[in-house]
Symmetry: C2
Amino acid sequence: MSVTLQPVALTPSSDLPIGDFRTSTGGVIADARLRYRVFGDVALARAKGASLVFHALTGSADVENWWEPVIGPGRALDTSRHPVIAANLLGSCYGSSGPSTVVDGSFPELTALDLARAHLPLLQHLGIERLAIVTGGSLGGMVALQWGLITPVPVDRLVVFAAPARASAQAIAWNAAQRLAIEADPAWQGGRYPVLQGPSAGLAAARAIAMITYRSLVEFDERFGRRQTRRAGQFDVEYYLRRHGEKLVERFDARSYVALMGAMDSQDVGDLEAAGRRTAQRVKEVVGVGIDTDILYYPHEVRGWVEGYARGGANARYEEIRTPYGHDAFLIEFGEVESILRGER
Amino acid sequence: MSVTLQPVALTPSSDLPIGDFRTSTGGVIADARLRYRVFGDVALARAKGASLVFHALTGSADVENWWEPVIGPGRALDTSRHPVIAANLLGSCYGSSGPSTVVDGSFPELTALDLARAHLPLLQHLGIERLAIVTGGSLGGMVALQWGLITPVPVDRLVVFAAPARASAQAIAWNAAQRLAIEADPAWQGGRYPVLQGPSAGLAAARAIAMITYRSLVEFDERFGRRQTRRAGQFDVEYYLRRHGEKLVERFDARSYVALMGAMDSQDVGDLEAAGRRTAQRVKEVVGVGIDTDILYYPHEVRGWVEGYARGGANARYEEIRTPYGHDAFLIEFGEVESILRGER
């Protein structure tokens, strides 16, 4: 399989300066830049159209790290037909401008719309005039929905996994609880901490909260039950959550985490029919994918905006992934993700 | 209505020394004591039987503070017929022995069975020979289920609201995330902090997590939606969670919170049919009450143990409260709680 994988694995990262970026709420990121990757041949992307992929909260432009089975030549995101473009989202900590690159703590608040808008200069820079697929899950799905509202180029299919058009009060509440956990760690200091001296205990606690919302009752019961095999006197599920917290702290900055949670909270496309009408101007087909066991962005939320978009005139349809895995299924159930991306269902 | 309320409101608290209390896991609480109240006439309770009420995680023996509409003369828990006995649970911080009364941090781990067992000397002390109702919700419901396994006196009805017979991995996970949030506050110090110098930020974050699991998507959306009316730039739901955190910190000790979460995690009656069989020895009727929107202890969990108990020979039936309020409905939907306690459904 190395023949299939090499073109993807060898894709280098690039940095694009996008100038002073003005946010939706009136802030400015001076001399902003985007770290991005193009999986496949840029000339082909210019000639035949590209695909655009948005990552989730703690993801990155390294799409092969989290969607490996669906990206590459011949795969659902077929890089030999439509090269894939992915950028590290603005506000994240994997190369694009974010709150950890602005030392004085003045990094402005970001919205999901801002995260989409930051890709406009990238598409222009690469000379992309058509998008075959625009897709992402969770926060990436929210950004994809925002892209549908502003895309300057035609889009064949917008495929949104496990994302709301409007963040619910409960979803905001989960993020609020995570903010409280991060703030409970005095190393947070309102985000003004030196690099590598961040609120590791607070971020780990936040991650633990999030991990529960990413999975399901059924999966946790099947996988962990009430077993205590990893550490004496500790349930395995607690060991798992603590381990996930520790792992995130090693690879992610709390400031970026907080900034991107804010973007998630901001998610609101406004009136659904109007958003559907606007999206239909340049997007041929919209697919909203709910996950039956998702307790973060419930499937009926996805179905709801799909129906609203359709009423507004978008060619929108709803698909559902049935799985024990909950919200994270878009990163696990690759067979389902693949068939949906291929348009086979 | 003051005539109805006065007998309850005037009930004084009493302290009962229960000697050295040996926990299920082999620990000892030296010179343990229970703070309790009897709502109504003890002589009547001896002659006609009492009711026994267990409070939830941050509740207390002051039942009128959280179940006011259902306790009193003529009410569902009719104190003029069967006086109500309620004790502050062992491990809590409202007068009974708990981790904040043992200065060296040696307070042992507690199980839900321990919390039930601590009531044995209380019943003996009061001379109670029959219980008309044994009831509680959430942690109180778990303790009620444990009581069914060990009650030395006959029980007419065991009414368990929103409680599992076996804490799920997800329920344990919510508590684990709360422990992580508390530990993220360095004031926690493994529970060895001076009085009033506890991990207030950590406990507030834990409370925020818990509050989300106590309510529902629908209620939060109806009540808060995406409004920002309380504080500029902050969603009302976040204001609400922060306020609840601050309020809990003023009235509850983090050590007790952690101790009682541990008791919740311990909840496991073992084989359901065997537990039902054992419960049936002294309990005439078992009513398990699920809440349709409960995301902490799902209604199908309650239905599951009811069915298991019934297979084991208990006279057990399932009732469901339909409500937008989620888990907390047993503290809100008093009409439903009342009719269930009265046995009218």
